[in-house]
Symmetry: C2
Subunit: 147 residues, 2 copies
Amino acid sequence: MAESQDWLTQLKAHGYRLTGARRAVVQVVASSARALTPVEVYDAARTAYPALGLVTVYRTLEKLEELGLIQRVHQEQGCNAYLPHAQGHQHLLICQRCGRAVYFDGDDLTALFARVGDEHGFVVREHWLQLFGLCAKCQPEVNRDVS
Amino acid sequence: MAESQDWLTQLKAHGYRLTGARRAVVQVVASSARALTPVEVYDAARTAYPALGLVTVYRTLEKLEELGLIQRVHQEQGCNAYLPHAQGHQHLLICQRCGRAVYFDGDDLTALFARVGDEHGFVVREHWLQLFGLCAKCQPEVNRDVS
DNA sequence: AACGATAATGAAAATCGTTTTCAATTATAA
DNA sequence: TTATAATTGAAAACGATTTTCATTATCGTT
């Protein structure tokens, strides 16, 4: 995959070595449409590289985050899942059924948020925005699920 | 404090007993302007009730969250801090220096978010919004801090 | 192609925050 | 005051993450 290659190039460019373990982890995370936990990455990556250790997954995710290639995603179920990072200023739209994540642009909100801050004497420097709902595929499915 | 009393009344109303440990925890959390972690609550509440155990703090926070009196706050530094819950649909504005949290109204954003979802085939059912910045008190202070 | 320095690895142990277990204590309704 | 059942704190258990360490493998240099 193209993105996967790019990540390997970036790792190399920053002095990190390219190993089988890293290739496997990068491949899995770079091509995922949903945020994955370390264990999920571990399980998925071992099909390509069975000798992989969970510790290496943690270490690789750490480096990918450091390089801004992935981003931690906070959800009700937990805050330790990772997703390929968006380019530019983007926010997340996450499907509550299948977990699929989509980025959307949030630039136009900055002014609004600055105004909200003003009203409370704050200077706003960052914001966090995430939308949760059902993607097109899951909208019909959710009705027949046991709740 | 008024809010503290109200929480105790609510606990009682739901069949929970009022104990010294609970009063101490409630008092600390209800009167805090910043989100507190279990250990922070533990340390603060022990000045009023030295025999308090950390386990009881966890259990009391659990009940307060269950009753909707407190809310978990997600931040860069961690996702296990609690704040008195806002009435109605509110969002958080948090000071990056002192941690002070203020609620603001977010009702007018719902329509906008539904539209964003539409553009990606999603039905939006929830949203998460938090602003981070500097409160009035901390704006002058931040310049003389060591970064 | 072989070498050597050193980064990276996986297994095991250590650590941290949180939860469970359990016997003793205490709030509350009768 | 008493009886019952909820609550307590200490210790043990637990799961996720980090550290330690001896071994292995990458990659620039030869």
